[in-house]
């Protein structure tokens, strides 16, 4: 067995992963509950996205073991990815512009 496998052993046990799984299920339930709370769309979207990001972080950190890898791997992969994903949102104002243009032309 190579030392790569030995390195990966510094991770949590199965009972801890079961707790993470429980957390993910509870958060999913919370999302479904929030859906029917008749909140304003912006508020609901914000809450749902916040919960989803927490869920994604739990999956990446524990199920995908990124927490137990070298920090340099995290620093290489995640900040650049988040930056690219955030940059995609830059064009959003354009979709509001199309809405307004449609209203004017009607």
């Amino acid at each position: 067995m190579s030392s790569v496998a030995v390195h990966a052993h510094a991770s949590a046990g199965m009972s801890w992963f079961m707790k993470v799984w429980g957390c993910l299920l509870v958060l999913t339930g919370a999302e479904v509950f929030l859906t029917y709370e008749e909140l304003r769309l912006e508020v609901m979207l914000f809450l749902l996205m916040a919960i989803s990001i927490v869920k994604a972080a739990l999956i990446i950190a524990y199920f995908m073991h990124l927490r137990y890898e070298k920090r340099s791997l995290f620093l290489t992969l995640i900040p650049a990815l988040v930056f690219v994903l955030v940059m995609m949102v830059v064009m959003f104002p354009d979709s509001f512009r199309i809405q307004t243009m449609r209203l004017i032309s009607n």
Binding site: V4, A5, W21, L24, T28, S52, K70, L77
Partner: protein, 209 residues
Amino acid sequence: MSESDVAMTESTWSGGALPYAISSKKLGMWLFIVADSITFGAMLVAYAYLRVASPDWPIPFKFNPSIINATVMTFVLLSSSITMVAAVQAAKEGRVRACVGWMAATMFGGVLFDILHIREWLGLIHEGVRLFQNPWGSPLFGASFFSLTGLHMTHVTLGVIYLAVVAIGFGRKKFSADDVEISGLYWHFVDLVWMFIFPLVYLISARLR
């Protein structure tokens, strides 16, 4: 002394063959996952863009059956992730039979997810939703819904095949515990993507009354 042991004695950036002290296969999978995240990110942003730009975007999902169905699908996918974690743990501890069994359970979850998803698709098609038309509003609903969930379903289906290949290979000692862990990375990623599709496609489109 194996090749990876030699590489480990070098510091990561001074010619060590294993940057980040992970196998090159695992690094390759991580890079694929980053690229694939951007693909899904682009599709979700495109969907959100079209939705905001369309005043007549349909919200067709009733609590029963659509939201219940999607919640059950989420449960199935999350549960298949925990069985995959168990498979990886078993593989690391050298318990081959247990690992193959847990991987089979994971594949069962994936297949069940696909069945529930296809049943839902057929229901929507039956209601008249097509790629470029539907009875309720913006014709782009079908295009974005089917392409987004279809790409995800393709990932689940390919994931099941990938897991089957790795499980058989690990059972025959052709693949190592590292290979099992790498297939697990892919599976958890597919699960992770669904954590965004579920609220953005289903919950936001729930019909409240």
